[in-house]
């Protein structure tokens, strides 16, 4: 362990976050007992929209669920074997395999039987998501399924016509939700959920901006446990409340120079999902004073960003901050579509150069010394273009460590070999 330079302490809000996450999975599992509704879909889904059905509508988002399964290596292996035994290929999305395996085993990773949703509500964000819930629906005996096509390209190309394409699907989706659940749809609840989502995702960006500080008040391993609320229920008031408190605490850590890693010497970032079963890699870096201060993934999978007047990246100004009064269902959906399709993480799917530019921006503004790129066999969509990104960093003179693995399948990750490669990277960064 290198010399401690800064004071450090755990987050005061940590246990509150743990309880909030536990409550989320329990709310979903026990929704029926309490007279509520359950739906399942991707973390990229328009989760604010089903909120119009009532306050007792609970979701289970597949990717964080798949990551939770991955963290439990024994259960993950059983899930993967179960779904592969049904003929699903090993090179499919690891989250998908963990989720579907859990369905096939009829076991919920948090205990008990797998809670069957009342409907599926999702988006075609990538090749896996285009089929994921259709298959889940079939496996669960024909659960009603609605999917929105979001193939609208880069944010800069998201014009009125493209927005209309998405919004019309959402309007159809609301009719479908009413028919499927037999409930009346409440536009006021939708509008509140849109306000919540905009505020929660902007708050997360604000929290990430605080990590530009040296020493970093948050390390990425901790951020994984915090950004996740935006992938679970970014539209819920409890997430807004949590992120407000978190923002205040992180600001306090900045003001009082409380570091995430007391021996911070070098700062790195990663690019996309980590190998969830092997987060100890981050602790290995930290032993040598290297802290990962974030990633394009943790910052912008849910974070809402904009370029500020001084040219730096900052939290996006929310509709409420702009004084926008949302009055109609269509207006709410248009604002939500504009907000959603501007998420930087969306750009991964369309442009290697855009991803490189975004990461280079983070390198500059977050004062980063090196980049780790995960050739993630578990996610084709977000691993796309990594070789191109590596070249961009190389041209910019930034040390890069590409490493191979899988976010959700431990059979495809070699910890010792990765640590060896990390050793070389540490030497390149001048800390070992």
């Amino acid at each position: 362990m290198t010399e401690m330079k800064y004071q450090t302490k755990p987050l005061d809000i940590w246990n509150e976050g743990k309880a909030l996450r536990q409550q989320y999975y329990e709310n979903y599992a026990k929704a029926h007992e309490r007279g509520g509704i359950r739906w399942a879909g991707g973390a990229w889904a328009y989760s604010a929209v089903p909120s119009g059905l009532g306050d007792d509508v609970w979701s289970l988002t597949g990717e964080p669920y798949g990551a939770s399964v991955a963290f439990n290596k024994e259960f993950a292996a059983r899930c993967q074997e179960a779904i592969e035994a049904k003929g699903f290929a090993r090179d499919l999305c690891a989250y998908l395999r963990n989720y579907l395996g859990s369905v096939v085993l009829d076991e919920y990773v948090f205990g008990g039987e797998f809670p069957k949703p009342d409907f599926m509500w999702t988006t075609h964000i990538c090749c896996s998501h285009a089929k994921w819930y259709q298959i889940a629906s079939d496996l669960e005996g024909g659960v009603p399924f609605f999917c929105i096509d979001v193939s609208t390209g880069l944010t800069e190309d998201f014009n009125e016509r493209r927005r209309g394409y998405v919004v019309n699907q959402l309007l159809d989706g609301i009719d479908w939700l009413e028919k499927t659940t037999g409930r009346d749809y409440d536009d006021e609840k939708l509008i509140q959920a849109v306000y919540n989502e905009c505020e929660a995702t902007s708050l997360w960006a604000e929290i990430c901006v605080l990590n530009k500080t040296i020493p970093a008040p948050l390390d990425e391993k901790t951020m994984y446990s915090l950004y996740v609320f935006g992938t679970l229920m970014k539209h819920r008031p409890e997430v807004v409340a949590f992120y407000r408190k978190l923002r205040d605490e992180v600001q306090d850590r900045v003001d009082t120079k409380i570091a995430a890693v007391g021996n911070e010497q070098r700062r790195v970032i990663t690019d996309t999902q980590p190998p969830w079963g092997f987060l100890e890699v981050f602790r290995y870096l930290e032993k040598h004073g290297v802290v990962s201060v974030g990633s394009l993934y943790t910052f912008s999978l849910i974070g809402a960003w904009e370029v500020k007047e001084d040219g730096t990246w900052g939290p996006r100004t929310t509709p409420q901050q702009q004084g926008i009064d949302i009055k109609t269902r269509k207006q709410a959906l248009e604002i939500l579509a504009d907000w959603t399709h501007a998420r930087p993480e969306w750009q991964h799917f369309y442009s290697a150069h855009e991803k490189s530019d975004l990461m280079l921006r983070i390198v500059r503004e977050w004062k980063v010394d090196g980049v780790m790129l995960h050739y993630n066999r578990g996610c084709e969509g977000l691993t796309l273009n990594i070789a191109e990104n590596r070249l961009a960093f190389k041209e910019a003179g930034i040390p890069v460590l590409p490493f191979e693995g899988n976010m959700g399948d431990e059979r495809e990750f070699d910890l010792e070999r990765t640590k060896k490669a990390v050793d070389s990277f540490l030497e390149l960064l001048g800390v070992k």
Binding site: P399, K420, A421, D423, S424
Partner: protein, 258 residues
């Protein structure tokens, strides 16, 4: 000042003992299942050759796969770090050092001081390393040491899958059944592995001079394929499989001086 470097390779553990910057002895033992036993055997071999006792060595630095497995090593350095250090010592103009061992290939770019500037390592596949040639020599029923000289006698280039040892082995079997001369098959094997290594090194950018080290650098057929693949001269030092251990011993010298 006497220092030593231990390189835990996938197949062999190698030890180099230095007196200042002069190599006084080398030792090697099969890695096997117990790294401690292998390290002890390799160390004893080198100590005996140098007529020294372990207590005579001021500082031992280890590198390779089994770091931390022996208590007589003071610290460690990565293989690429060790290779950069030793490569420049062996060839002052070396700027790209390519190491192809039994299970792994790696390359490092360095400056004139032997400081690493960038590196690349092959991922989880033996198709770009020495184990590939071993597997293919078994399929061809040719002694490993004969693969190189045989490859140089090839009369025709035969394409072969460079991506997977298992697929490549079945290709070798097909070529044998097609009556392809063994020399041409040996060449195809070397070209396939060289193609994979060259593609990896190109990610770094090839800066001359290029030094090729590791156990596969003994294989003249592979060296020739690498020259063709890279399109530049490839230098091979004496005792290429000991270069990482030598680099670790040089790092040990530096660390004592620090």
């Amino acid at each position: 000042m006497i220092t030593a470097g231990i390189d835990f390779g996938a197949k062999n553990v190698k030890v180099v003992i230095l007196n200042d910057d002069k190599i006084v002895a080398r030792g090697s033992a099969l890695t096997g299942f117990d790294l401690k036993i292998a390290a002890k055997a390799a160390s004893e071999m080198a100590l005996k050759a140098a007529e020294l006792k372990i207590e005579d060595i001021v500082h031992i630095t280890e590198t390779g796969i089994g770091q931390g497995s022996v208590d007589f090593a003071a610290d460690s350095v990565s293989e690429v770090g060790a290779n950069a250090k030793a490569g420049v010592k062996l060839l002052a103009t070396a700027r790209t050092i390519i190491d192809v061992g039994a299970e792994e290939a790696r390359a490092v770019k360095c400056d004139e001081t032997g400081s690493m500037k960038d590196f690349v390592v092959n991922e989880r596949c033996a198709a770009g390393a020495g184990a590939f040639v071993e597997a293919m020599s078994r399929a061809l029923e040719v002694e490993l040491g004969q693969m190189g000289p045989m490859s140089l006698k090839a009369t025709e280039a035969v394409p072969m899958n460079a991506q997977c040892t298992v697929f490549a082995e079945s290709e070798v079997v097909s070529l044998i059944h097609n009556q392809t001369p063994k020399a041409n098959i040996a060449r195809a094997i070397h070209d396939a592995i060289a193609e994979r290594v060259v593609s990896m090194v190109r990610r770094l950018g090839i800066t001359e001079d290029v030094l090729l080290i590791g156990g596969l650098a003994y294989d003249v057929g592979f060296v020739d394929s690498m020259k063709h693949g890279l399109g530049v001269e490839v230098h091979v030092p004496e005792f290429p499989e000991y270069v990482s251990a030598y680099g670790a011993a040089l790092v040990a010298q530096e660390r004592v001086k620090e």
